[in-house]
């Protein structure tokens, strides 16, 4: 499928899932907020330029912000994810892989362990920054720490579920 078409439909799909489903679920606990929408940035092709990712991150975050009435909150966190993504990828992969425009960071292309590290570090960055900005407005240190940890693990869980659901045949032979 055309890369542009694929990524645009992903953008719409994951934001719709976030807004229509995940934001409507009554929370299990104050600390657990399910976040999945930034998987769109994580799945952009390897060679995408840092500046493109940063700007796309801002747009993605800002679109969600319009629906949650928190202008700037998700935009800040998402542009940080976009900016630091190439740094993490360069740490994990050989240069020719990390500049390949035709492949995407997935379990099938990176392997379990590097992919898990990649997901973990960027989700942690996203939630750390997001909850830090929230903490500056209200809340306590306990709120900050608990929410970062719980929300990060919730996101990792969701991302792996999506990964398994979308690539069932490729992973489980």
């Amino acid at each position: 499928m055309n890369s542009l078409l694929k990524n645009t439909s992903r953008f719409v799909l994951f934001l719709a899932i976030q807004i229509i489903i995940l934001n409507e679920i009554p929370p299990l606990h104050q600390f657990i907020t399910p976040y999945l929408y930034f998987i769109f940035l994580l799945w952009m092709p390897f060679g995408t330029k840092r500046i493109t990712l940063t700007l796309l991150g801002f747009v993605t975050g800002y679109t969600l912000d319009l629906f949650t009435n928190t202008p700037g909150l998700h935009a800040a966190a998402c542009s940080a994810v976009g900016y630091f993504r190439p740094t993490i990828l360069n740490l994990l992969l050989a240069q020719e892989t990390s500049e390949d425009l035709n492949r995407e960071p997935r379990i099938s292309s990176m392997g379990w362990a590097p992919y898990a590290f990649y997901i973990f570090s960027l989700s942690f960055l996203h939630h750390f920054y997001l909850v830090l900005l929230e903490w500056l407005q209200f809340g306590s240190f306990g709120y900050f720490l608990g929410k970062v940890i719980a929300t990060t693990f919730m996101s990792i869980l969701l991302i792996f579920i999506v990964e398994l659901a979308m690539n069932r045949r490729k992973i489980i032979r």
């Binding site: 229509i20 934001n23 409507e24 679920i25 009554p26 929370p27 104050q30 907020t33 840092r50 500046i51 940063t54 700007l55 801002f58 975050g61 800002y62 319009l66 629906f67 949650t68 009435n69 928190t70 202008p71 700037g72 909150l73 935009a75 800040a76 542009s79 940080a80 900016y83 900005l133 929230e134 407005q137 209200f138 809340g139 709120y143």
Partner: protein, 284 residues
């Protein structure tokens, strides 16, 4: 000059990133003032429309609840109909009362408008309710919102032509003046972000003796809400030995999970009240 241009060219990505960060944080910190005037208008119109479409879908599944709510309310209103009451017997004269003014004449202070909810969150830390009724239909900022059950829901914070945004009670910055029905002690209702059905009543004097199950009502000090509207019932009392005040957990009467219709209350004397609250007495 050449060096500066070279520096910008070399660090273009980093600079873009930093600028975006500054823009987002500036938007976040000045939300109430700047954002509203510059972006609030058009973005609310767009998200309002999308939320309305989505609401048309989820509304269908809630029809049963809405019906029950409206039915209960109809019964309550029917009970207040004029034909239910008999006029006082005036055929017998008790005496002559000289009144300069007709004591039956009353002045309307609160006015109610219905509004349909098209967007509602309760899972975030800052929750808002979007309604389809705006400036053109008479909504003003700071009007109070009441659920069909007659308990309070929030305050209007933003208005455009056809939609308005209500700061729900489930918002970390929401603060409403409230009192205990038992001994009329005033405090303030806030939310701690934990459970959407539990609110926190703070700053109740320790001389009050609240019991579990006591009603919490809006206080007469509030300028938005009519006094004595139901807020909720006390579920537990937290005694903090280090402070002079009690903190109470209150189960809210309004059901924030399935709001379909709300009522907006306009206090026609609010501008006057706000004015006098604002004046500081300089020559005291």
């Amino acid at each position: 000059m050449k060096n500066i241009l070279g520096f910008i060219k070399q660090n273009f990505t980093l600079l873009t990133f930093l600028i975006l960060q500054i823009v987002s944080i500036a938007m976040l910190s000045s939300y109430n003032k700047t954002y509203e005037t510059f972006f609030g208008g058009w973005s609310n119109q767009v998200t309002g429309n999308i939320k309305k479409k989505y609401n048309g879908f989820s509304y269908y599944f809630n029809l049963k609840n809405t019906n029950a709510q409206l039915l209960a309310e109809n019964v309550a209103l029917r009970n207040q109909l004029a034909q239910n009451f008999v006029p006082i017997d005036t055929s017998k004269k008790l005496g002559t009362l000289v009144l300069r003014k007709d004591s039956l004449e009353i002045i309307r202070k609160f006015f109610y408008y219905p509004a349909k909810v098209v967007g509602n969150t309760f899972t975030l830390q800052k929750n808002y309710i979007i309604i389809e009724r705006g400036r053109l239909q008479g909504v003003k900022k700071d009007m109070a919102a009441i659920s069909p059950e007659g308990s309070i829901v929030g305050v209007v914070v933003e208005v455009n032509d056809n939609y308005s945004k209500i700061m729900s009670l489930l918002h970390r910055n929401s603060k409403v003046s409230a009192m205990l029905k038992r001994d009329r002690m005033a405090g303030s209702i806030e939310w701690d972000g934990a459970d959407p059905s539990i609110l926190v009543l703070k700053n109740i004097s320790k001389s009050a003796s609240p019991k579990i199950g006591d009603s919490v009502l809006t206080s007469p000090y509030s300028s938005n809400y009519p006094a004595q509207l139901m807020i909720g019932k006390v579920t537990s009392v937290i005694k903090d030995p280090s402070s002079n005040y009690l903190t109470l957990n209150v189960k809210s009467t309004s059901n924030f999970y399935n709001l379909e219709y709300i009522y907006l209350v306009e206090n026609r004397r609010m501008p006057d009240q706000k004015n006098i609250e604002k004046t500081d007495l300089k020559n005291e």
